[in-house]
Symmetry: none
Subunit: 222 residues, 2 copies
DNA sequence: CCCGATACTGTCCTTTGGTCCAATAGCGGT
DNA sequence: ACCGCTATTGGACCAAAGGACAGTATCGGG
């Protein structure tokens, strides 16, 4: 259920040069600053990691490295020149926030409070563009969406034998979430997640979560 | 960018029936609860408005009404059964949060703190699906996706980075085989299967066998 | 009011999955 | 002969998954 600690939290800055921009330090005077590639052995629970992108290398690569280094910690990316598509890619890779590297200290603190409370930070302008793109893209392609549509309808059929909650966990499993993640997402205990998954296994006649994923994703009949 | 007021804030619940679910009240005992359509004359600055959707009417319509009633206040929508497309529509209509109506009190408070700090609240599961949809739509296939063909060719691309043996085990994993089964199928030790799978994880940047299955089956980019 | 369905949580335990460190062996190219 | 890649295996160790057994709480009927 994600520990929400009150005030100041552990902040870790990671930048290519190993130096932080003045505004970061202004926002978080007590933060730890590291160079990219530095080994991180253990991070306090709920730590927030800020990644200053190195413009000369692909962002996903840098993020992957950082992920390996810091594990499950929440990551916020600071981009010198925010980019729509890049933000998308990074969000799908699991970052919790994406904001302009030139933000004010007040803004940075605001971002921190949102992300540490479990939210996502997306600049409003970016959000608008993102939604616009998504909406038009989705409203378009009525024909191309047929395969997915059929797939999701079939999935709905398969899932219709499940209770509401069971469907939620089943879908989460099918997208690759771990029990712990699902528990966090739904605000319940890992134990309860297991309970739901267990009954889903029975109802859909699945052996394990991978089979369940195949069933939900239409790769295999139940 | 937005006024951040400190602790407890004004919370307004709007539901079709005029009643709040027990968990809402648990989270915000001092909240004001109103029925949809009730006239609201003035709202404290920074108030947070929660809208419980009426399943029998189109959501955008309900939101539009509420917008008229509460003006610029931040709105969080509570959905009984969260829906991808609905969330999209509502976010583009300006809501600041979208979450499951069955969330726990702790979660609701968390959502409140995020939104009141200027963030957006999107359930993680929803975020994932939303991003998946966006990504596939944005990486729009100019050749009007031949459904299966493209998928399998893309899968082949993804697997091309692997050695022959690695491809075999990757495919076996993707069809739901356990390590023991794969070992038997290939006539090698379970230990060796693990070794192959381990290197596949690295090469395809997968976290576990379920992610690997999603990648191989084209449900997720590597 | 009791009952069944749903949701949620706990403990104990076993099996599986995954990583780390380490080693052997064949094969092709320089 | 040496190097790099691939395939193979061992052992130790830890984390995640899943089953067994049990319990509480809410809600909507009959």
């Amino acid at each position: 259920m994600s520990s929400r600690s009150p005030g100041s939290q552990f902040q870790l800055f990671v930048s290519p040069s190993g130096e932080a921009l003045p505004r970061w330090l202004e926002a978080f005077p007590k933060a730890v600053v590291l160079a990219q590639g530095t080994f991180v052995e253990s991070l306090p629970d709920g730590a927030l990691v800020w990644l200053r992108l190195d413009a000369s290398r692909p962002a996903p690569e840098q993020l992957a490295e950082l992920h390996k280094a810091v594990g499950a910690a929440r990551i916020v990316v600071l981009a010198s020149q925010p980019d729509n598509e890049q933000a998308l890619t990074l969000f799908s890779a699991g970052i919790r926030g994406y904001c302009n590297a030139h933000s004010t200290a007040a803004n940075l603190r605001q971002v921190a409070s949102v992300v540490q409370a479990g939210g996502l930070w997306i600049g409003e302008a970016l959000m608008q563009r993102l939604l616009a793109a998504t909406r038009t893209a989705i409203l378009k392609t009525p024909v191309a969406s047929l395969p997915q549509d059929v797939a999701s309808r079939a999935a709905a059929d398969r899932l219709s034998a499940l209770t509401g909650r069971e469907q939620e966990v089943a879908r989460a499993v099918a997208t690759g979430s771990s029990n712990k993640e699902i528990a966090r997402q739904l605000g319940i205990t890992e134990r309860t997640v297991k309970a739901h998954i267990g009954s889903v296994f029975q109802k859909l006649n699945a052996r394990d979560r991978l089979h369940l994923a195949l069933i939900v994703n239409g790769q295999r009949p139940s």
